[in-house]
Symmetry: C2
Subunit: 252 residues, 2 copies
DNA sequence: AGGCATTTGTCCGTATGTATG
DNA sequence: CCATACATACGGACAAATGCC
């Protein structure tokens, strides 16, 4: 039954207050059928029964979501959902980060936060097929869509091969154009690894998450058309705001 | 100061208990430098100062992580991190579920739990390009590697086209061979969507997770060589036991 | 062996936050 | 608003196990 599905996961002495769990459940349930076609939630008493808690507890949850800007409560009429969709990020041979958001009609951009030339640590050296300690450009950026931070990325480029990469990235604000300005006309994604973790404190702060929420982490390698790696990047996505769409190559 | 960096993000009356926030912080910190080379955590008093809380609060966090199987506490010696390796699941045009585990030298198998012919709900009908209500075979299975449940999947097949699918799956315990027995020699993955969620009660039970842990959910469509969908499946992976590896097509 | 510092484990009491009716 | 029950967080004290001198 629907009530069982919704109630599942709500428990006591888990370290998370009931009102908070219910707030999370309502936030998650928004995508899967909670609320009618006008976005109206069931009345508080009904929600209380649904979750198996007191009406006061539901009220705490709702008031938290209202101050998060996810719900709107109207005296006498009901409580309504203000629904933001998940952003879909395509992952394909031709993944272009900056183009993804624009395609969905989302105002989105990637803001470079810092850049630095450093000796390659082992993980980066291995991905870029360089010697450990070889100079690499490290770039940190934050992806923003609809005024909400969605992802934060760290990318590395071989400094010897692309000495002007930092300048070009700053000028064009696009990896594709920056590569072009460095003399690389085309590149393809050769590998993507995906894992999921609990948000770190940095995630909580930068992506404006609540403690305990989830981040999807992608480890990606882009290469030139000869197959030589040109970029290694780790990106952390706010899991409740995105959907990663793997697009396999078309039939040959 | 370092303690200020780590302390940031830990807050009171947020609806999430301090011990829970600290447990999440330690869990997240394990991947990024918390703990020395032997996997030993700083002593409780030190962690308490680091997070700006009482030692008892840190102890609550640690005891939660111990019962999650992430930490091991030894009286008089210290608290240690238990690091199990992740299984890597390739996701490619030719993803074959049953072959994945075997390739890694892992004893793995997929156990069918139940099967049922039912009218296609909207999500399934859309994925398989059928009319809503058309008969489909629904199969639930659990993927097990090294005696630990790793994933649970629900798959749907068009019943009219593959009437003997259930029998063949039971007989061969392999999607690839069952398709072959139904007259379909080859198929390819055309779409994979990946999202991440908190574990539901069912996840906790079936995948033997602890409440609050993470599941990676993949939504996959396989098609025949003409591009007609033959299988739609949703798979829920225990996120701390797997790594999804997207393999892009080789350069043409 | 003994002595000592370090670290986890257990008990007490008390104040505050959360949840119910 | 109020009263009640339970979970959370703090502070202090001491016991138990380990390892080192």
């Amino acid at each position: 039954m629907a009530s069982d599905i919704i109630r599942s996961g709500i428990g006591r002495r888990t370290g998370i207050a009931l009102w908070r769990q219910i707030a999370d459940a309502i936030r998650a349930g928004i995508t899967s059928g909670l609320g009618d076609k006008h976005g109206k939630l069931p009345p508080e008493m009904e929600l209380a029964e649904l979750f198996g808690v007191n009406r006061h507890t539901v009220r705490s949850a709702i008031s938290a979501l209202v101050s998060e800007g996810i719900l709107r409560a109207e005296q006498g009429r009901g409580t309504f959902i203000i629904q933001p969709d998940r952003l879909t990020y395509p992952i394909s041979k031709r993944t272009r980060f900056s183009a993804s958001l624009a395609e969905q009609g989302q105002r989105g951009e990637s803001r470079m936060m810092s850049h630095d030339v450093m000796p390659a640590p082992e993980e980066v050296a291995q991905a870029l097929q360089l010697d450990v300690g070889a100079p690499v450009l490290q770039v940190r950026s934050v992806g923003v869509g609809d005024d909400t931070p969605v992802s934060r990325a760290t990318a590395w480029f071989e400094h010897a091969r692309f000495p002007d990469m930092a300048d070009n990235l700053l000028r064009f604000n696009s990896v594709t154009r920056a590569f072009a300005a460095c003399g690389l006309d085309d590149y393809v994604r050769i590998s993507t690894r995906i894992e999921a973790y609990h948000a770190t404190l940095d995630d909580v702060e930068i992506l404006r998450l609540s403690p305990g929420s989830i981040v999807l982490v992608t480890f990606a390698i882009n290469a030139d058309l000869e197959g030589r790696p040109v970029q290694y990047s780790k990106t952390r996505f706010a899991a409740d705001r995105v959907s990663l769409q793997v697009e396999h190559a078309p039939l040959s």
